[in-house]
């Protein structure tokens, strides 16, 4: 019996060329990376031997006397994330309409899209640095950084939702003589509100994580404690902080997942 495999699909010249170009650029990227990076292993390992006993066991024996302070700053972190993400959720709504293809047309929606991706290119921490310089080292700088940073992401997600709405309802209302405001309130909004809420709550989840590090640049929240604990080599306090972050993030993740499941 003659067993033969089915013939392999023929690749076009373009596809072959593309594969070769991609492979070469990936190899070049790795050569560049390994030539460029020079790690001082000896120093790092010496430091590790010296620090290991100071850090690792202490992380796992949290200093419970700091619980009160950790709870208070964690509360501030939650406030920063809440105020910031709510501001962002409100700001993102008009921007998302401006960036949606089916609301503004393909070309008019371009500036909105660019603005949103420009905002997203700034890491939260850089925004926080700018706002700390502007309004001083306090929690409000954190709120502003979170608000602006989240607007980019929320605006993009919102505009994608708007682009996916069911056009039939809109056309049906227009055919019956509804004006633009009526179409907006009775055809567009009911379709998008649940998903908007769901994403806003999801962003709150993300912002809890983001706002817990803003204190590193002086923008309030638990990050301030992280900086002090590491500067003082107080790793048991760092353990308490970690427990605080893990507990709060987990609880909020679960609650938010539960609420989002009910909304959508």
């Amino acid at each position: 019996m003659n067993l033969t495999l089915p013939p392999k699909p023929k690749n076009s010249l373009f596809k072959k060329l593309r594969a070769i170009v991609i492979t070469i650029s990936i190899i070049a990227l790795y050569i560049w990376t390994f030539l460029g990076i020079d790690l001082d292993w000896e120093k790092a390992i010496n430091k590790l031997i010296q620090q290991f006993d100071k850090v690792i066991p202490m992380l796992f024996s949290p200093d419970w006397s700091a619980t009160g302070e950790v709870a208070l700053t964690m509360l501030e972190t939650i406030f920063i994330a809440f105020a910031g993400s709510l501001m962002a959720a409100i700001l993102a709504v008009p921007l998302s309409f401006l960036a949606a293809n089916n609301m503004m047309g393909k070309y008019l929606s371009m500036p909105g899209k660019w603005l949103l991706s420009a905002i997203r290119a700034f890491p939260d921490l850089i925004l926080a640095i700018l706002f700390v310089v502007a309004v001083g080292p306090n929690a409000f700088a954190g709120v502003l950084a979170i608000a602006i940073g989240s607007t980019g992401m929320l605006g993009k997600l919102f505009s994608e939702i708007i682009e996916q709405i069911d056009k039939d309802v809109v056309q049906g209302m227009q055919a019956n003589g509804a004006n633009r405001t009526q179409v907006l309130f009775y055809a567009v909004l009911p379709q998008i509100i649940p998903e908007f809420l769901s994403y806003a709550i999801y962003r709150f989840e993300v912002d809890i994580r983001a706002s817990s590090i803003l204190g590193i640049v002086g923008a309030g929240g638990i990050g301030t404690m992280i900086v002090f604990a590491s500067a003082n080599d107080n790793w048991s306090q760092m353990g308490t902080i970690l427990v605080g972050i893990i507990v709060v993030v987990t609880v909020i993740d679960f609650t938010s997942a539960f609420i989002r499941k009910r909304i959508v």
Binding site: I37, D40, R209, I216, V227, I241, I245, T250
Partner: protein
Amino acid sequence: MSKSNTKKPLKIKQPPDIYPTKTKAQVTIIFFAIVAMYLYSMNWTQRDMVGDITDAPANMVSVLGKFFPPNYSYWSNIWDEMALTIQMAVIATTIAAIITVPLALLSARNITTFKPLYYATRTFLNLLRTIPDLVLAVIFVGLFGIGLLPGILALIVFSLGILAKLISETIETVDMSPLEAMRASGGGTIQVIWTGLVPQVLPQFTSLVLYVFEINVRASVVLGYVGAGGIGQVLQSQLRYGHIAFPNAMAIIVLIFIVVLVIEYISSKLREALI
């Protein structure tokens, strides 16, 4: 039959509302709770602000003015640091992508049929994802001293959590019939995974790795702020000099902005081509 002959006034019945009263009450209460919490948060976060909130915009304009114009000639001093930042992200993403394979398999419900193992891996990954990247960097800087190594390690651990979760979710959505057919005709676990699973998830795997690379580039530019190497370290030292160095700092921020945008653009084009 009824005694009352009194005429009832003609009532126009309102059409019943789409939403029941209970839902309306709930929504109203939630709305006011959110507004109250918002006002309280704003009040709390502004409590130790010097001066009035109304001063803030003017303040912001005057301080941000000192950042402009950015000192672009400073770019020639920071190319190396920027390159190191990207290289950090490349190495971290590569190592994370390798380690993530067994973790993703172990936390996929359809591959790991042994429940306790599945739940253990899942819980571990969930725990890993709750720790912010900068906190990991702070801990690794404490362990290894200032340098690139703690930054790379922080990125690896951080991206491992995200990547393993995303990939395990992809694995859970694959078509199981080819895998079952192979198992029925006597394929071993490794054979089944290699020939049945890998071809199905490879495009998504590559796409997700690229996505995590984007996240890592963004994260690596700020890791330096806590001493974990890269461009963030330069930014921090420039900001510490005060007003004189602000144009330099702005040049760094603009460079970060451009690099992040370019990398995101390339990566999103590649991902579009993949899927």
